[in-house]
Symmetry: C2
Subunit: 278 residues, 2 copies
Amino acid sequence: MTPLERLRARIDRLGAPLCLGVDPHPDRLPDGLPPGAGGVESFARGLIEATSDEVVAVKLNVAFFEAFGSAGWSVLERVRRDLPPDLFVIIDAKRGDIGSTAERYATALFGHLRADAVTLSPYLGEDAIEPFLDYADRCVYVLARTSNPSAASVQELGGGTPVYLGVAAWVASTWSDGRVGLVVGATAPDELARVRAAVPGPGFLVPGVGAQGGDLDAAVRSCHGAWAPGVVSISRAIAEASPGADWRDAAASSARELRGRMREAVLHSGPSAAAAAP
Amino acid sequence: MTPLERLRARIDRLGAPLCLGVDPHPDRLPDGLPPGAGGVESFARGLIEATSDEVVAVKLNVAFFEAFGSAGWSVLERVRRDLPPDLFVIIDAKRGDIGSTAERYATALFGHLRADAVTLSPYLGEDAIEPFLDYADRCVYVLARTSNPSAASVQELGGGTPVYLGVAAWVASTWSDGRVGLVVGATAPDELARVRAAVPGPGFLVPGVGAQGGDLDAAVRSCHGAWAPGVVSISRAIAEASPGADWRDAAASSARELRGRMREAVLHSGPSAAAAAP
């Protein structure tokens, strides 16, 4: 099975496209964990173990490991190595560089870390994307409209058509085999709907539900594309469900509840979601 | 002295804003070096040692180290640790992420690697830049118009005003203390001139001269801003001056010759360059 086939099968089995976002900040570790990179490793491992029955994918945010330099990269390597093999592994790196540099980042993330998918920045065009697609069956998610407060500063430049829609159209018209999806934040539901209406094909990686306040129903409705399944990534609402010693149980409960709400949203989204499935 | 004051003093002393770009690809190592990360380390160290009298800055491209995972990050840490203290240290990372993730990348690049400056992607807006500016006196270069073939796909979206000019104007109007510069490629001299005409303030980091075919005179003329000095970064024309065992001498000669040509360009650029100096 290719990574996308594995993802599709697991979404069918669990009934919800929940992705665990792993962004362990050393200043926000729960009680009882050691400080620094050791605590970050224990927290990441514990979150994955507690929630792996409820999620289809895990998104590891490189920055939270890279902050410790080579020691943090060693943690990232170990956490990735021990991930359950049936999960779809997204490395959230938002890299974006040209030619031979992009090829080196692809070597790091696909060759060395064996990601199923990575997040990439669109700013440098095809040159920043193609070296990743040289890895057979691997996937990328290109940033279109992000979930942060200042997203509009650049993503809504442009007169008639904002940049984020231009980027979505460029991606959908350049690559159409389902391996190139889009990152579209759930905190901007109007923009999310606009992107989905403009490009029915690509699967979406949708962050911003939970602590960032995004709309869960809208996220679930829109993440599935005609060419590929999408996922909704949730980080803090699971990781910070309890700051106490019961953080593992609280994370498991939160993931179970979020998966249940997503199943409801999938069931109630009716024929449109079914029609979008390939 | 702040890093920018140190850079300005060194440009005055050497008479040319030459930056050594360090992008050591394991498939393009010169004769006599071991393969893999060991060869990459020897090559990076040798290039820096051979050229450090001719350059004002060194730009380390993270991807070429990160390709080896934690082992490559260890090499990057050692190479950075041993850099001559009078050089301006640019970590070319092109990171671009939001809030706490950007803060973690700033910890990695400014806190851990002690860069004087980093390259950043503009796509996520102020949220991706501000956490780096929390480090007093450090600098960032935000991508505006890059030097690669597909640069126009996203950077020239937009009806009347292309995205790269919108980004340049946004940067210049948001931060004006000289710590936020722009990356503008030398392979697009018309666009380089357009950006400089639109935003006289920021210093530019100009890649693309040499192997990529950019215009050295135009690069030197435009890199200096009213608020901060700029640098012209050259990689392969120095690193690959000879593929043989004499690569160190060839790199030194190439850097000396490029510095000489840049000095000429500075001298002949006349009052406009002087007027641009603060």
